[in-house]
């Protein structure tokens, strides 16, 4: 694979690359490191259907900045791995993180992320605590105009409409479109105080922006969502 990528690097007009791997066991950082060197690449999608979390380690000195504008990370990744990936992608306009997983006791990295052109973020979270995601999001959200987040997990604090309202008001002042979904198991007992905050998703803040709150029931799951009208 890496040998093949070295050959691709010679394609001086290569703008878009969509890579799908049946499986991969080595350090994904090696692949990303090479891909980030492609000087004309605008669009990159890397898909690995396995749900295994892979290592993503980059060389210590890595001061080359990628030309990528669109990055779709379609494999299992943690937020801290994403922070590492985003250290050299200043030109990003859109970022999709299709399968972000949480690690127990994972503390979000203190490294900063500089994405001054990032307008669109689409992210799917599995078992990532809101506090952890908050720490990640605040690093890269200041210029966001379109933000889509889908959540599966046990942390019900995502259902706190007031917390989202405050975050958007303070940290995402350019946001035009917000899409949110949180999947809940119907048979879970309601013990969490955040359920009482669900109604806040229908407050004037959301109505003024014409962001609709909805609930969908299907197959034992209840999905809470916000989407534009």
């Amino acid at each position: 694979m890496i040998y093949l990528l070295f050959h691709f690097q010679k394609l001086t007009r290569l703008r878009s690359l969509n890579i799908g791997l049946d499986s991969f066991f080595d350090n994904l950082g090696d692949i990303y490191h090479i891909l980030f060197q492609f000087s004309t690449l605008n669009y990159l999608k890397l898909t690995i259907p396995d749900n295994e979390l892979l290592d993503i380690d980059f060389p210590m000195s890595n001061d080359h900045f990628s030309s990528l504008k669109y990055l779709i990370v379609n494999h299992c990744v943690t937020l801290n791995q994403m922070i590492e990936l985003l250290q050299n992608t200043r030109e990003l306009v859109q970022l999709n993180c299709c399968h972000v997983v949480g690690l127990e006791d994972d503390i979000i990295s203190t490294k900063s992320v500089n994405l001054p052109k990032l307008k669109r973020l689409i992210i799917n979270l599995n078992d990532v605590d809101f506090d952890e995601f908050h720490g990640f999001l605040i690093k890269l959200c200041s210029q966001l105009e379109y933000f889509t987040v889908s959540i599966e997990g046990l942390d019900k604090s995502y259902l706190d409409g007031d917390r989202w309202e405050e975050f958007i008001t303070k940290e995402m002042i350019h946001l035009k479109e917000f899409q949110f979904s949180f999947v809940d198991f119907i048979y879970d007992p309601i013990t969490d105080p955040f359920y009482s905050s669900i109604s806040r998703f229908a407050s004037s803040f959301w109505i003024e922006r014409k962001w609709i709150f909805g609930i969908s029931l299907k197959d034992g799951y209840m999905t809470y969502s916000i989407r534009p009208s």
Partner: protein, 203 residues
């Protein structure tokens, strides 16, 4: 992986052409599947959540839902204004749904404020029961597929609905063979043909 499809919950078919993007405040509820969990409504997440949220639009698949369960659900949604019923039970089953004179039904008939309904290819039998259940309906929207004659349903609504309230019916989908203008009955109503729908209004 997750649900983000464009949910048909905005009931835009009830808007006039000039206001297709009308925003409806309040929340929507979409139910796609069996609701046996409502058998014990006080002890589960659904009833608790529904009491926390002001839901005014409901989209529900009905073919596996008993009338008791349906009414129990509607009683949990006192602010419901618009409803979309997908896969109505057959005429035979609708006959079985004769409204029982229970406290739940009486409360539902008195309290429900539903004024908008969307259906796909309803029959006259289905429409009759719906008009009995939802007495405040003012806006009807029907998705029509081919080979379905909706004229008996339209006549049923326009004859039985409360004439004190203006009635609006929108039919969309396959509109071929829906020749209303040739029937004297429809002369008394305003019929507006647009690109992909027909709107019938009482004056």
């Amino acid at each position: 992986m997750f649900f983000f499809s464009k949910v048909q919950s905005d009931f835009a078919e009830h808007n006039s052409t000039s206001s297709l993007n009308n925003f409806l405040p309040g929340a929507y509820l979409r139910i796609d599947g069996c609701l046996q969990i409502l058998r014990n409504p006080l002890s589960n997440i659904i009833s608790t959540v529904l009491q926390l949220v002001d839901i005014n639009r409901l989209s529900i698949r009905c073919n596996r839902l008993s009338i008791e369960m349906f009414i129990r659900l509607l009683l949990l949604l006192p602010n419901l204004n618009a409803i979309r019923l997908i896969d109505l039970p057959s005429d035979d089953n609708m006959y079985k749904f004769q409204l029982v004179n229970t406290d739940d039904v009486r409360r539902f008939l008195t309290r429900n404020q539903i004024t908008k309904i969307t259906l796909t290819n309803p029959t006259e039998v289905q429409m009759n029961l719906i008009l009995t259940c939802f007495t405040r309906l003012q806006s009807f929207a029907f998705e029509k597929t081919s080979n379905v004659d909706l004229r008996p349903v339209l006549r049923c609504i326009l004859t039985k609905s409360n004439r004190c309230q203006p009635i609006r019916i929108c039919v969309y989908g396959d509109l071929q063979n829906l020749e209303l203008e040739q029937e004297n009955f429809f002369d008394q109503f305003q019929i507006i043909r647009e690109q992909n729908r027909i709107v019938i209004q009482t004056n």
